[in-house]
């Protein structure tokens, strides 16, 4: 494969059959699975297991509810009446609903984990029998004798052969061959991807299936520590630890619980004093209604669901902390190539110099590119075919004994040698300006006078406007070569990015484009894409320094990267998203891995992080605001009998004191169920400033949280009052 210009450092052209990484900015979310009964049923056993007080004591709110449930059950058992039995039942329901929410959230991950596990079971590998150290790629390894070994016995460095229909036994690099691989077990993307030796697409993942051809893979991860193993552990939540943010919220909820326990405990003396001594059942009901059960129940479900949303977008977060950090990010570092622009450049214009006709230049450029399979080469052919019908004739020229001159890093040119009818050779070259001029000079030719000025001017203009100038030259026979002109290669900015960056700015997130290009080119592209800042001619050290500088200012930095030289920066950043095709070093250094290897996804990761934090805040607000209505239900019910004056507080006109208290408890339990889908899905999120978001969510969840229970409790009361005996 030849490349006409300086080496492209990024995963290059999206292969026709590769997943739609480059093109779409927003890959469609995989079918959002609604909450189904089957899911709930399968989650029930683990929800019941979670009732174990030892496990539940991690969440003080739920622990208190469970204690209350135990107490009321005991009371109801010794002195059964409909009221206390119903309260006991509904308190247990509250606890079960809470654990169920967590189990359902986990079960979504479990379903994925079990399908992953299935892909691992019982694969066997054809290991090349020769000692691993002696094997090099590209030497016909698949011809060597192989032995059949179970994939669990593979060691790092082993070389295996995988043929069409076979399952790749472990993580590794392709060292020989090209194959289309079905990675849907990992990524869920049904379109097969190309994996080939060398370059950016050499990494294969264990558990994926080879669809065609044959590849030779060198294993890079020991059995049991492959990517799939880690992924299973992650999606199952077995490695889940509480994030700092969750711990802080838990402290808040705990202190609220303590305050309310005190408030309820001291209420009994007051009540006794006022001559309205309350039964323990009523007090427990009041307490359970007061403590923030809703958010306490949904807290871990929200966190798990956040991870799950990332997983469904094919991003694996190594810790919940990273997801939260993503929500607080202030600065995004985005690589230009592959993230902001398509990984390749397109020819958009030809600029002849020194009296050469545009058509002549175009035809020459086309000839030099006909056999060039790089995206840049193909784009030149397309461009010229579009502007000139006559150029098509060149195809036969190219076929007649033409000799291709591939791109090398030394010459930094590519081209073609065409035998002319008279026996002479016509040499066409295209490449970086300096390289082509050197070649022209070496043949005795020179670029002087007006032509030279014109050439320099074109090269300059193209660079300033963010393009890459490709100089085309021609030599006929042994005559000195001459420069024909310049082809403008343009970096094409991905669609919809400008809007995305505008949204980010509205959220207060600054985007910085990082590129190896020179400052003028970089700024031109930055302006087109709408990013805020540019780090041009960036070395890995520059990147690291920039991250450190931003962090010293107190900002959180997110970046995406794939190369080994990205690893330090990935490790330094607060949110480091490594590409799945990237090197192992990069994957180890980052705290997230994008299975689609689409760096633009960084934007979505930030949105998911924000959504997670907002969901948590919104449900906390809702939970606390709910209490007000419950007071209006329970307090009059408790005391109106003895102190009729308090009857005016009974704004809901509930049918009887017992039904009022029971309704409040039932509402308290049911609201958890109602909010589970919201917790799993996350609150609707639209990019806006923190103030605007807060105002809107306060309105919806704060004021809504005040009003909803009045309606809800009244409705439940209407139903409950139909029960005989209440």
């Amino acid at each position: 494969m030849s490349t006409p210009l300086a080496p492209v450092t990024r995963p290059s052209a999206p292969h026709p059959s590769a997943p739609p990484t480059g093109g779409g900015v927003t890959p469609p979310e995989r079918t959002a699975r609604a909450l189904t009964w089957a899911q709930v049923r399968s989650a029930l056993p683990s929800a019941l297991r979670k009732l174990d007080p030892r496990e539940l004591s991690r969440s003080p709110v739920l622990f208190v509810v469970e204690l209350g449930a135990v107490a009321t059950t005991a009371l109801a058992a010794t002195d059964p009446d409909l009221f206390s039995v119903s309260i006991a039942v509904w308190l247990w329901a509250t606890v079960v609903f809470a654990t169920l929410a967590e189990s359902v959230a986990e079960s979504r991950g479990k379903a994925q984990a079990s399908s992953l596990r299935a892909s691992q079971k019982g694969t066997s590998a054809r290991r090349v029998a020769a000692p691993a150290g002696t094997l090099d790629g590209g030497t016909g390894l698949h011809l060597l004798p192989t032995v059949e070994v179970p994939s669990s016995r593979l060691q790092v460095g082993d070389v295996v052969v995988v043929e069409a229909g076979g399952t790749i036994p472990g993580d590794g690099d392709v060292i020989e061959g090209v194959a289309s691989v079905d990675e849907s077990a990992i990524t869920g993307e049904s379109a097969p991807v190309i994996r080939e030796s060398g370059g950016d697409r050499s990494a294969v993942t264990g558990g994926t299936t080879v669809l065609s051809d044959r590849i030779v893979v060198r294993i890079t991860a020991p059995a049991g520590h492959t990517f799939v193993d880690r992924m299973i552990a992650l999606v199952e939540g077995s490695e889940r630890q509480r994030t700092p943010n969750e711990i802080a919220l838990n402290v808040l909820l705990t202190s609220l619980t303590i305050v309310f326990v005190l408030a309820v405990a001291t209420l009994q003396p007051f009540a006794a004093y006022s001559g309205a001594k309350q039964s323990l059942v009523v007090l427990v009901a009041l307490l359970v209604c007061l403590i923030p059960t809703t958010i306490g129940a949904l807290l871990s479900a929200i966190g798990i669901a956040g991870m799950d949303r990332l997983v469904r977008r094919n991003v694996l977060a190594m810790s919940g902390r990273a997801v939260e950090a993503a929500g607080d990010v202030d600065v995004l570092l985005l690589d230009k190539t592959g993230t902001i622009t398509h990984g390749n450049r397109f020819a958009t214009e030809v600029l002849p110099v020194g009296g050469v006709g545009a058509l002549e230049l175009a035809r020459a450029a086309r000839l030099a590119s006909v056999a060039d399979e790089t995206p840049e080469g193909r784009s030149i052919v397309e461009l010229v075919d579009g502007m000139d019908d006559g150029a098509r004739d060149g195809r036969e020229d190219a076929a007649r004994g033409a000799q291709l001159i591939p791109f090398t890093a030394q010459t930094r040119m590519s081209g073609v040698d065409l035998p002319l009818p008279d026996g002479a050779v016509r040499r066409l070259r295209k490449g970086a300006g300096s390289a082509v001029q050197r070649w022209v000079a070496s043949t005795g030719g020179s670029v002087t006078g007006a032509g030279a000025d014109e050439l320099a001017a074109h090269v300059e203009t193209v660079s300033v406007q963010g393009g890459t100038p490709l100089v085309v030259a021609e030599q006929v026979g042994d005559a000195p070569a001459r420069v024909l002109g310049v082809v403008r290669l343009k970096d094409v900015v991905k669609d919809g990015l400008r809007e995305r960056f505008d949204q980010l700015r509205a959220m207060g997130i600054r985007s910085v484009m990082v590129t190896g290009d020179n400052a003028t080119t970089a700024r031109a592209i930055a302006q087109e894409a709408g990013v805020d800042d540019v780090l041009a001619e960036a070395t890995p050290e520059d990147k690291l320094a920039l991250i450190r500088r931003e962090q010293e200012g107190g900002r959180l930095v997110a970046m995406a990267g794939d190369g080994t030289n990205d690893a330090p920066a990935l490790a330094q950043s607060d949110v480091g998203v490594a590409m799945n095709t990237g090197t192992t070093a990069a994957k180890e250094a980052g705290n997230m891995v994008d299975l689609d290897s689409n760096p633009t996804k960084l934007l979505e990761i930030v949105e998911i992080g924000k959504q997670l934090l907002i969901t948590r805040g919104a449900l906390t607000t809702f939970s606390v605001a709910n209490d007000v209505a419950k007071y209006f239900a329970i307090l009059p019910a408790m005391f109106a009998g003895v102190l009729p004056a308090l009857g005016v507080l009974d704004v809901m006109r509930l049918s009887s004191p017992e039904s009022a208290i029971l309704s409040a408890v039932i509402f308290n339990a049911l609201i958890i169920v109602v909010l589970v889908p919201l917790a799993l899905r996350g609150v609707r999120y639209r990019p806006a400033s923190a103030s605007a978001l807060l105002r809107r969510n306060l309105l919806v969840y704060g004021v809504g949280g005040l009003i909803a229970p009045f309606v809800g409790i009244k409705l439940v009361d209407l139903l409950v009052s139909l029960l005989p005996g209440l």
């Binding site: 408030a263 209420l267 009540a271 006794a272 004093y273 207060g508 102190l643 308090l646």
Partner: protein, 130 residues
């Protein structure tokens, strides 16, 4: 404050100090503890606080009501001071505008209200309604 009041309405020593019974008695005790804990330590005339019982308990309320918040606020200040300043952007919440002030006030009102409404409703609220 609630604990003190609660003790006072069940212990004979506390009950002995009250002039009136019923809701007003509760209001008297509640006010005495509220004032001792958070304000100037005044009490209704109907409540004779000059007893060793009330002096001790109100003194404790005064001590706790003052020093615990002081300690907590100092701890909060220390925590905030040790944190790095984050530069303001559209993503940060301006703390000097009605939105934040209103939010803070509402949160304080709701939480405090939830804590004290039961006690208040049995005392002063009943009194005023009846």
């Amino acid at each position: 404050m609630l604990v003190g009041t609660a003790l006072s309405v069940v212990l004979p020593d506390g009950l002995a100090g009250q002039q009136e019974g019923g809701p007003h008695g509760l209001s008297e005790v509640l006010y005495a503890f509220a004032s001792a804990g958070n304000n100037n330590g005044s009490a209704f005339a109907g409540l004779s606080v000059g007893t060793p019982y009330y002096n001790t308990l109100l003194g404790l309320a005064m001590l706790v009501g003052r020093f615990v918040p002081i300690a907590l606020v100092l701890a909060l200040a220390g925590r905030l001071a040790s944190q790095r300043a984050v530069p303001a952007s559209a993503g940060t919440l301006p703390t000097h505008q009605p939105l934040f002030v209103g939010l803070l006030a509402t949160v304080a009102l709701v939480v405090v209200g939830l804590t004290f409404i039961p006690a208040l409703s049995l005392g002063p609220v009943v009194e005023s309604l009846s």
